[in-house]
């Protein structure tokens, strides 16, 4: 996204942090959030500020393109850029929606028991969607079969029936900020836990559970 055409002169607001991002930085952040979400086994914290800013950016670009001279080569290039950004954004949101649908009882339970002050992993719209999905599925199961079953079997505990995200799955990561003393727990009884230091710029293959908080804080990037 170059500035030469002066189609993008707007700075985006970074949301709650009150940081002003250039469009290039915003798209960078979007791509990082997208990759993290794709490779993490559980639903990560929602980045609705980034989503909103990117949508604003796309609207802005579209407005500019409509006013620009037709047939200009730069118009096509910017249109391509817009399509690429739209793809990344859609893919990011699709990934989140799929995880919400896959783990809906656990996500809703986590939200219900969330302590005051801790940020939600769901945006308000995602929360409404998750609730709707849960109600829809429960009502369906009741009407299709459960209500015809014997009285003591008319309930299904979805928290036990639906599998939880596998936090022990392995992920690739690149270290952005040096970390010390990361505890790696043993997989088998013969091994013992050991401590690793993560150097900046290094890449590792490690169990997600060990580094989950580092993904949330932005210290590592999943690849």
């Amino acid at each position: 996204m170059t500035e030469e055409l002066d189609l993008l002169g707007q700075d985006s607001d970074g949301g709650s942090e009150e940081v002003v991002l250039t469009p290039a930085e915003l798209i960078d952040r979007l791509e990082q959030a997208w990759m993290n979400e794709k490779f993490a086994p559980e639903l990560l914290e929602n980045k609705s500020e980034i989503v909103e800013c990117v949508m604003e950016q796309l609207d802005h670009m579209e407005g500019n393109l409509r006013r620009a001279k037709k047939g200009d080569l730069k118009v096509s290039i910017h249109q391509m850029e817009m399509e690429r950004i739209r793809f990344v954004l859609s893919s990011y949101l699709r990934c989140r929606l799929m995880k919400i649908e896959k783990f809906f009882p656990h996500i809703l339970e986590k939200e219900r028991t969330r302590p005051e002050g801790e940020p939600s992993s769901l945006s308000p719209e995602e929360f409404a969607f998750a609730q709707g999905y849960m109600m829809n599925t429960e009502t369906y199961l009741k009407n299709a079969a459960l209500k015809h079953m014997p009285p003591n079997l008319q309930k299904v505990d979805l928290l036990r029936a639906v599998p939880k995200p596998d936090l022990d799955s392995y992920v690739f990561l690149r270290v952005k900020e040096r970390q010390e003393n990361i505890l790696v727990e043993p997989e088998t009884d013969e091994q013992r836990d050991y401590i690793v230091d993560l150097d900046e710029g290094s890449q590792h293959l490690i169990r997600y559970r060990a580094i989950a908080p580092l993904v949330a804080s932005g210290a590592v990037q999943l690849i």
């Binding site: 989503v51 909103e52 949508m55 604003e56 796309l58 609207d59 037709k70 096509s76 249109q79 391509m80 399509e83 690429r84 739209r86 793809f87 954004l89 859609s90 893919s91 949101l93 699709r94 929606l97 649908e101 719209e125 995602e126 409404a128 969607f129 709707g132 999905y133 829809n136 599925t137 369906y140 199961l141 009407n143 299709a144 079969a145 459960l146 015809h148 079953m149 014997p150 079997l153 299904v156 029936a161």
Partner: protein, 196 residues
């Protein structure tokens, strides 16, 4: 053998390929529910016998029937839930309007679930920033180029492109159209991407 019918339901889905939705096995489900009713009633009478008549030798049988009931419930719910997942995939593959052939394979309750799901998804997409929201069922693949060559497989009629001009989509006609406009029609089988 007990729970045989329930196992058959599960096997039926296990055999169906990914994304395929076989017809709703209403008969099979009904038979499982009948078996469950019979088992429950037998257990009811045995429990009464055991309590009043002191027949504690009936308890293992009661436990066995209870296990069968639980297994039947589990298989049934697995069958229904797996079908829901397949139906959900249909919304993402075909869009809001399903082809008739698939609709006949769904029960009335499944249709209800599908309609609710569509609405919920539409509400969510509309809320995504801006006035119209963002249709995330589009842009499923990374864009390679702005325009693509497509061939029309069926008669579709007039199709309007961005700058106002409209194109007549007749069978076997070929066009050079913006990629994102064609995506949905390609998925519905009306257009075919020509890779030459």
């Amino acid at each position: 053998m007990l729970c045989e019918k329930a196992m058959e339901l599960v096997r039926e889905l296990h055999r169906a390929a990914e994304g395929q939705l076989p017809a709703f096995n209403e008969d099979g489900l009904r038979q499982v529910l009948e078996e469950m009713k019979a088992l429950y009633e037998q257990n009811q009478s045995d429990v009464n016998e055991a309590k009043s008549g002191g027949r504690s030798d009936l308890i293992p049988t009661i436990k066995f029937r209870h296990c069968s009931l639980l297994r039947n419930q589990r298989c049934t719910v697995a069958y229904l839930y797996d079908r829901l997942l397949r139906i959900r995939a249909l919304r993402w593959e075909y869009g809001s309007v399903l082809p008739n052939a698939l609709r006949f394979h769904m029960s009335a309750e499944e249709m209800d679930w599908f309609n609710h799901y569509k609405k919920s998804l539409a509400t969510y997409m509309r809320s995504l920033g801006g006035d119209e929201g963002l249709d995330i069922t589009q842009d499923m693949k990374p864009p390679k180029s702005l325009y693509i060559e497509v061939r029309c497989l069926k008669d579709y009629g007039e199709f309007e492109v961005d700058d106002g001009t409209s194109v007549l989509l007749k069978k076997n006609s070929q066009h050079f159209l913006p990629r994102w406009k064609c995506e949905q029609l390609i998925r519905q089988g009306i257009l075919e991407h020509v890779l030459s």
